[in-house]
Structures are given as C-alpha cells and as structure tokens.
C-alpha cells in the first residue's frame, strides 16, 4: 500500500476555540473511517483537506505534494473530490447536468471552457456511464432538487466521481438514509474501492461505518483518541467513554 494522503500535525483554531489539536492522519489505498462524537472536528478536517479552510499549523500532503495552501478548485483538479454532510446538489439543474458539471473539472481552467458546448455526445456518454454506475440512470432528466435525500446523496457521489478523483472524501453519506439505502451505498463504496480509489468516510451511523471501513480513526474534542480495525476500536475503553460517558 502506498500513502495517498497524509495530514501532518494539523491544528485549527477558530478564535479561542481549538477545533483540531495536532491531528495526524494517513490514508493508504483503503476505506478509512473517521468517527467521533459531535464537535470532534471531523468535518473541519475534511474542510482543511479540500481547501475550504486553511490549517492554523500543519501540512496536508497528497501524493507527495503539499496542498494545504492551494484553493479548493485546484485541489479538486489535482484529484480529491468530496461530498457534503448537508447535501449541496446543483438543485435546479438536472441530474445529468450535475454530473456534467463534475466532468468539466479538467476543462474549467482551459480556454475550451468558452468554446465548447458542455452537452455533446462525447460528454454525455461518460456522464451516463457514471449515472449507470451509481444507479441513477432513471433520474437523468429530473431536477436534482426534486430528488429524495437518498438519491441526492448518490448524486453527490456521482458528481464527485465525475471529477475523476483518486481520493474521495464522503461526509456522512448514510445520514438520513433508510437501512436498505445504506446497504446499497455500502455496495457502491466497495465497488469504488475495487476500482482503486482511496476513500475516507465520516460517519455517524456506526453499524454502517464498522461494516464498511477497513480502518477507523476516532476523533474526540479535536484529538485522535484511537485508531485501528473496527473490532479494535469498538472495544477500546477510551472510545466507549467518549461516546457513552464514564
């Protein structure tokens, strides 16, 4: 396994509040789970990795290049895509156009952006493949905002995939899903792993995370309190305390 992403000693302060305190995480070619109680700093870490926030100190290395000074769109173009905890589909575009927006990732910075139409046979074909892969083909022409939440979460994954990432960050992909939908989602994520993508998942649904992830990192109050296999983490005294109290 090679190191895909390394977050080195990340600290993030908001005013007086320390959201992250010297957190170091590495992701190999794997499905890595990031769990922890509310306010533990998980989403903050995601926001730092994808460039929405700058770390107060520390570094983020993606495939041997430091990315923590880059801006979000550059980071996406270099191969990291994410989904959002509160879904942000392009709600008044169709599902297909949402995916096309992701496919444009490597065009937006080139002059082709002015000259080329976005909806042509050469672009629609790969977009439809992604829709088929995520089982959204049926909804291609529906406005994204009209989809129920389970499909919106899938659409976010589809849109992220369209940017051709090597690292995929999923922020609570199972939130609000029924257990059937969550199972489907797990199958999808495993398929992505089989394609060679590295995946980091923030998850509140513990059953889902424990079942899906190969390795789990537990954050609490801005620090890593445990990491290991799901079985190790589940029996870890500190983790139980962090969740249930003493």
């Amino acid at each position: 396994m090679s190191t895909r992403l390394e977050a080195r000693n990340i600290t993030k302060r908001f005013g007086g509040l320390e959201a992250l305190r010297g957190v170091s995480v590495t992701a190999q070619d794997e499905i890595l789970g990031l769990i922890g109680p509310n306010g533990a700093g998980k989403t903050t870490l995601f926001n730092i990795i994808c460039g929405f926030l700058r770390p107060t100190s520390g570094a983020v290395i993606f495939e041997d290049r430091a990315i923590h000074t880059k801006r979000t769109h550059e980071i996406t173009q270099s191969g990291i895509a994410r989904t959002f905890q509160i879904v942000k589909p392009f709600s008044d575009l169709t599902v297909l156009d949402n995916v096309l927006a992701g496919l444009g990732c490597h065009i937006y910075a080139t002059p082709r952006v002015f000259a080329e139409q976005y909806s042509t046979r050469t672009t629609i074909e790969p977009a439809r493949e992604i829709l088929a892969f995520t089982d959204l083909t049926k909804w291609a022409d529906t406005l994204a905002g009209n989809l129920p939440i389970g499909l919106q979460r899938k659409l976010e994954i589809a849109r992220a995939l369209a940017t051709q990432p090597r690292l995929l960050l999923l922020d609570e992909p199972a939130a609000g899903l029924t257990s059937g939908e969550a199972d489907e989602l797990a199958v999808l994520v495993r398929k992505l792993r089989a394609q060679g993508k590295t995946i980091i998942v923030i998850e509140h649904n513990m059953a889902f995370a424990m079942n899906l992830c190969q390795r789990i990192v537990v954050l609490a109050q801005g620090e890593i309190i445990a990491q290991g296999t799901p079985a190790q983490v589940q029996t870890d005294e500190r983790v139980i305390n962090a969740y249930l109290g003493h």
Partner: protein
Amino acid sequence: MLQVENLDVHYGHIQALRDVSFAVNDNEGVAVLGANGAGKSTLIKTLIGWNTPSRGRILFDGKDITRLPIWDRAALGLAVVPESGRVFRDLTVTQNLELGAYTEKHRATIQQRAREMFDLFPVLNERKHQIAKTLSGGEQQMLAIARALMTRPKLLLIDEVSMGLMPILVKRVFEVIGQLRASGVTILLVEQNAYEALQVVERGYVLENGKIVLNDTASELTQNPRVKAAYLGG
C-alpha cells in the same frame, strides 16, 4: 406534564423523527439518549417550537401546543437550556437572567429570583456585571441553566449539556442537574453522554435513526447492552 404523540419531523426531504411518542410525568427526570444524528436535538427543537412537526401532537399540561408560537410556550412554563448554552453573548450576566424571566412582569419578583440564582450559582454572582461572552464554557452553561430556571419552569428541557465541555465541568454540570432533580424540577434531558445522564434521571428512551427503540428505567438502561450498541453499532 408532557405528552408527545406520533411526531414526524422533516428537514426538506430528510425525515429526522419518525413516529415518536413518549411522555414525561410530573416531578420526573427523563433522558433521551442516542448517537449523533439520531434525532435528539431535533426533538428538543420541536418541543420548543423551532421546528414544526409534519405530523403528530405535543400536549403540555393537557393543552395542545403543537402550533403555539414559541414565546407563548415559554409563558406556559416550558424552559430550555439549548445546545452549547446559547447565552446572549453581548449582554451581561444579569441581563441574561432578566431575559430568562421575560414573561414575568414584576421587577421585584425578577430581582428576587436572580438573587436565588446567584445563591445557587455563586460563580455567576461574582460575574454578574460581566458580558456573557467573557465567561468560560462551563460558566456559560451554568448561566444558561440559571436563565432557564428564572421562569420557575414546570418542565426544563436540556439539550446536550455536556457537549464541548471539559470532563471536570461535565461532572459539575451534572451535579447541578442532580440537585435540581432532587429539589423537584421536572426535567427532560437529551444527552450523548449516556451514563452520566442516566444517573440523574429516573427513566430513559433511546433514539435510533429518528425512532424510539428502547424505553426503560434508568437503572435497567445502564445495564442494557443495546444502549452501547445504539452508539457503537456493535
């Protein structure tokens, strides 16, 4: 005291609560437990009136308050200690307390109650002219509790009181809640910190994915392995 019947709550397409029914009796402490995202805070917000349920009824003292404006609920005797305190940050400690008793019109009564709060929380007395945002996290939490008590509420709703507090402060806050229970305040507590919460209440419910999956006395719940499973997905 409080009776909740078949409550459904949606955020857009997301259903946060599914068919939730439960009750809190007079002079009783009840905890609602569950992992992140189980719907605990949504429940509190719906009881206060910050969320509107898509289905179901909320009865308080036998009166249907499901569609009552938020401020009228406060007048009926429902008070809340919201998540992370939410004190009025730019006002003084005293002003925060006065606002707690906003529904009370007599100045003398308000001052009398503020004095009681200062007796109960001496640390607030020391800082009564300070602006609330200069207080520490624990002190702000105390202020939020004191503010809620200013109305002499019939029912006190407490949302995630331990969140973001250092362990030592969590202990102190739960001591205070324990004292309040001992003095006969009816409390509905929503909490992630299950074991601490179960020590200060008589009964508990466990929420999972917006549904109530367990309902038992506090001592039984403490023993029940399913509580742990609800958090850690065992």
